[in-house]
């Protein structure tokens, strides 16, 4: 039940390797914040600096208004769940969960109540006398969460807690973490490399790359208005299609001209372009696969050739390439196609694709920043 404030936090290894650059972030009380990014982006390092497991090279970390830079992890009132669970192999599940309480010299009957209560919530009551090695991955994860739960700490840190689980279990545990969060009602900081986890769990998402924050925002914000090309490509699966193309201004109207087609920018996007006073120029055009539709030959459609057709069940992922070899992905809901059309989609088939004017994203080819931000 505390806010976490990071001001200009830096991590420098060995004098010159910068792992985290000036990290500024204010996490409100009871907020669920997710740090997401590819491996090596500094997200875990930042989390570990908050936990006190790494020294802070520069800047300050405040928990609940107190600067904790010089405090040991145990004095920061935090709980943490590790990627590989870090369960003590020689202790039973009960002892694992009770470990921190015993270090606090809590009476055994209080410990008993707390541990059994946590075990109840997590559904691991039956395993309390087992050793970790006799548990499955999901059960171990629950024990790790239980160990963190009983500490009643101000901040709950989770470092890629689901990445060692298989896909099915991961989905299930994700739902359970949402429930857990409602029960604990405390501040959560969650690190993951999986954008789906970030989108589904976070109140706000912090997207990082090479030690820099690329964008901070709610899941909707980062999905609909990515600040830059990196965020645009990182969030959403399959990833956004990027086309190098021209933006043409004709009076108040804007057109994009990918591969000889000519598509008008409509809706809010067009208005924003005009508002910003953008002229005709080179751009990187981004369109999400689900926003591309199959169409007929015409002025506003792009001719391309089908390379691979992936049947995903409820939808098809069509990998196509255009005349200059740019590869694009098109997501087509299966219900939109009838049997004959679907069978027709074989390698080498000529297709025409198009997209609506309101779903486009525009990036500067050099700075890779979103032109509308």
């Amino acid at each position: 039940m505390a806010s976490v404030v990071l001001k200009g936090v830096k991590k420098i290894y060995g004098g010159n390797v910068v792992a985290v650059h000036d990290f500024d972030l204010e996490i409100k009380d009871k907020e669920f914040v997710v740090f997401v990014g590819p491996s090596g982006c500094g997200k875990s390092t930042t989390l570990r600096m908050i936990a006190g497991l790494e020294d802070i090279s520069d800047g300050t970390v405040e928990i609940d208004g107190e600067v904790v830079n010089d405090l040991q992890p145990k004095d920061r009132n935090i709980a943490m769940v590790f990627q590989n669970y870090a369960l003590y192999p020689h202790m039973t599940v009960y002892d694992n969960i009770a470990f921190s309480l015993r270090l606090q010299k809590m009476p055994e009957d209080v410990i008993y109540d707390k541990v059994t209560n946590a075990a109840e919530i997590l559904g691991i009551t039956d395993y309390l006398t087992r050793k970790p090695r006799a548990l499955s991955g999901g059960q171990r994860q629950r024990v790790a969460i239980g160990r963190a739960m009983v500490r009643d700490s101000k901040v709950f840190l989770m470092d890629e807690p689901l990445s060692n689980l298989d896909a099915k279990l991961r989905n299930q545990m994700r739902a359970e973490i949402i429930l857990l969060r409602q029960k604990l009602n405390t501040t959560f900081i969650y690190v993951t490399h999986d954008q789906t986890e970030a989108m589904t769990l976070g109140d706000r998402i912090v997207i990082m790359k090479d030690g820099y924050i690329k964008q901070v925002g709610t899941p909707t914000e980062v999905f609909e208005m990515p600040d830059n090309l990196f965020v645009a490509e990182f969030i959403g699966a399959p990833k956004m299609n990027i086309m190098k193309t021209g933006l043409v201004r004709e009076g108040d109207k804007y057109y994009v001209t990918p591969f000889g087609a000519r598509i008008e920018v409509t809706g809010e996007k067009g208005a924003r372009l005009a508002e910003k006073g953008v002229g005709s120029r080179e751009i990187l055009l981004g369109v999400r696969p689900e926003h591309i539709v199959l169409g007929k030959e015409g002025e506003n459609s792009i001719p391309c050739v089908l390379e691979v057709n992936e049947m995903m069940g409820s939808e098809l992922h069509l990998h196509v390439y255009t005349e200059d070899g740019t590869r694009l992905i098109v997501r087509v809901p299966t219900v939109d196609l009838d049997e004959g059309d679907r069978r027709d989609l074989v390698q080498g088939k000529k297709l025409f694709i198009t997209f609506a004017g309101k779903v486009m994203h525009f990036f500067d080819p050099v700075s890779e920043e979103n032109l509308l931000v």
């Binding site: 943490m80 870090a86 003590y88 470990f99």
Partner: protein, 291 residues
């Protein structure tokens, strides 16, 4: 057609050639075992020989008896044995504590001089340890821990330099996941509590390995013990004492006694070793792989 006829034959051939090679290997292993065991069987047999105390051209005694063991009992041997046993016992405890302290600190803490310290000790190891003997002898002599009082002196020397042998157990500690320490730190444990409650309970194999090697080393140490006891029988360990029995002036009368002494020394150590063999193997392989 050809294939279907051939394949069972080929199969038979494979099985047979494997059987032959396995038989050969079994024979080789038997021969190896004999070569490795023969000297020890000889020692055992000769320790019971009563007709002659010197080397003879046969192995099985003509007159069996415990004469050699009796004269062993009446010689200085019990004193030497006790000396060695005390040294081994104290060494096993103290050296284990020191090695564990050293290796835990070097494995788990990242302090400024850590790398330099490890490199320094590596380089230190390049010096022939024997050189230090000269001065250690004179210093120990000055404080009266040589000759008849060599036992405490030897213990001191063994223990004091035992920190250098941290490699193996550091290698073991390195294999325990660091996240265990981190989880315990978040849980509120001090570094000392982490060592006592998390690391030590998980380190049983390496603790036993360290105790075992520390206990066994003094039984075989010869050169240092000889230097420090300096011809004084009261301060000798078994190795130094028994070495003299094989000198030219004594060998003719003490050879079979040497065999009997060897048996008395080797049997307990070997039994202990075989009981704890599992941990020793773990330590040796782990240590060598980690370097």
């Amino acid at each position: 057609m050809n294939n279907t006829v051939k394949s069972p034959k080929r199969h038979m051939g494979l099985a047979r050639s494997r059987a032959i090679s396995n038989t050969v290997i079994h024979i080789v292993l038997v021969i190896i075992s004999i070569i490795w065991l023969i000297p020890f069987v000889f020692i055992l047999l000769q320790s019971f020989r009563c007709e002659s105390a010197y080397q003879v051209g046969y192995v099985v005694p003509q007159q069996w008896g415990f004469d050699n063991y009796v004269s062993l009992w009446n010689s200085n041997f019990p004193k030497w044995y006790l000396n060695t046993f005390i040294i081994a016992l104290v060494n096993a405890v103290a050296q284990t504590v020191i090695v564990l302290c050293m290796s835990y600190a070097l494995s788990r803490f990242r302090f400024k001089l850590r790398k330099a310290l490890m490199r320094f000790m590596l380089v230190l190891g390049f010096f022939p340890g024997m050189l230090t003997m000269i001065i250690l002898y004179r210093v120990l002599k000055d404080i009266g821990l040589t000759q008849a009082h060599a036992v405490p002196g030897l213990i001191l020397v063994y223990i004091a330099s035992s920190g250098m042998g941290y490699y193996v157990s550091k290698g073991f500690f390195d294999t325990l996941p660091k996240s265990l320490d981190e989880a315990a730190r978040v849980d509120g444990a001090t570094r000392f509590q982490i060592l006592r409650k998390i690391i030590l309970p998980l380190s049983k194999p390496i603790v036993i390995y360290t105790i075992l090697t520390a206990f066994m080393a003094p039984w075989g140490d010869f050169v240092f013990a000889r230097y420090i006891s300096f011809e004084n029988s009261a301060g000798m360990n078994v190795a130094v004492g028994m070495y003299n029995w094989l000198n030219l002036d004594q060998i003719t009368t003490k050879y079979t006694m040497f065999c009997a002494g060897g048996v008395i020394v080797a049997v307990p150590v070997t039994i202990l070793f075989l009981c704890l063999q599992k941990y020793y193997v773990e330590g040796v392989t782990g240590g060598a792989v980690k370097g």
